[in-house]
């Protein structure tokens, strides 16, 4: 079975400072990892994905994520936070070894609050 843990319910960062939202995962095979963002009363928007290759993945809106296989982590980062980055962030995983139609397993989400 696959699982995702987001250990922080909320992360507070001052505008202009770097931000990190943590995610750890568990899969039986190779992971296929995603970050999504959700604004109030909206669906999820795709930010970035990792399947193979470089451990540092660049995505939308200046976000990036670092894949660490030994620590089974996929932390979301941004060098300089904007107030508009305030939202609910979800990490998700699926087992790449599945090869077929697999649903995503999501973490519980982390509220990111950027203070002006």
């Amino acid at each position: 079975a696959q699982s995702v843990a987001q250990p922080e319910d909320q992360v507070n960062v001052a505008e202009g400072n770097p931000l990190t939202v943590k995610c750890t995962y568990s899969v039986s095979g190779n992971p296929y990892l995603f970050w999504y963002v959700q604004y109030p009363n909206r669906g999820l928007q795709f930010l970035l994905k990792y399947i193979t290759g470089d451990n540092l993945v660049k995505g939308s809106y200046g976000f990036e994520a670092e894949f660490n296989k030994s620590q089974t982590s996929f932390h979301l980062k941004k060098p300089s936070a904007l107030v508009s980055d305030s939202a609910l962030y979800f990490c998700a995983v699926r087992d790449w070894a599945g090869g077929g139609a697999d649903g995503l397993t999501f973490g519980k989400g982390t509220h990111l609050i950027i203070q002006p």
Binding site: V4, Y36, G43, G103, K108, G109
Partner: protein
């Protein structure tokens, strides 16, 4: 280029009733997945449809069923509604049986009284 569209946006039902939610995938997408997002939680996978067949199912009872049509649109049906079925129901579409990133609609907010 329209994204994933879901209807209705809000729905109120009473316990024991049945409900049908609808989803039109993003243009070019052939795979539709349904998720349930309870308040304060992450989305939970219900099932996925590809080529008009249910390909995988999450840990949801048989009261939850679905359908995919030849134009790739999909329906989610829930029978014998319970108070615990109150949630945001999200539809996501993708290409290549989910190997590409899933694109989500804004969801249907279902409230059970």
């Amino acid at each position: 280029d329209a994204g994933v569209t879901q209807s209705p946006t809000h729905l109120i039902k009473t316990r024991g009733q049945q409900v049908t939610l609808r989803c039109s995938p993003k243009s070019g997408h052939d795979t539709v997945s349904w998720y349930q997002q309870a308040l304060g939680q992450g989305p939970q996978f219900i099932f996925q449809y590809y080529e008009e067949e249910e390909r995988q199912r999450g840990n949801f009872p048989d009261r939850f069923s679905g359908h995919q049509f030849p134009n790739y649109s999909s329906e989610l049906n829930v029978n014998a509604l319970l108070l615990g079925d109150s949630a945001l129901y999200l539809c996501a579409s993708s290409r290549d049986r989910g190997l590409q990133p899933q694109h989500f609609g804004d969801g249907t907010r279902l409230s059970i009284l």
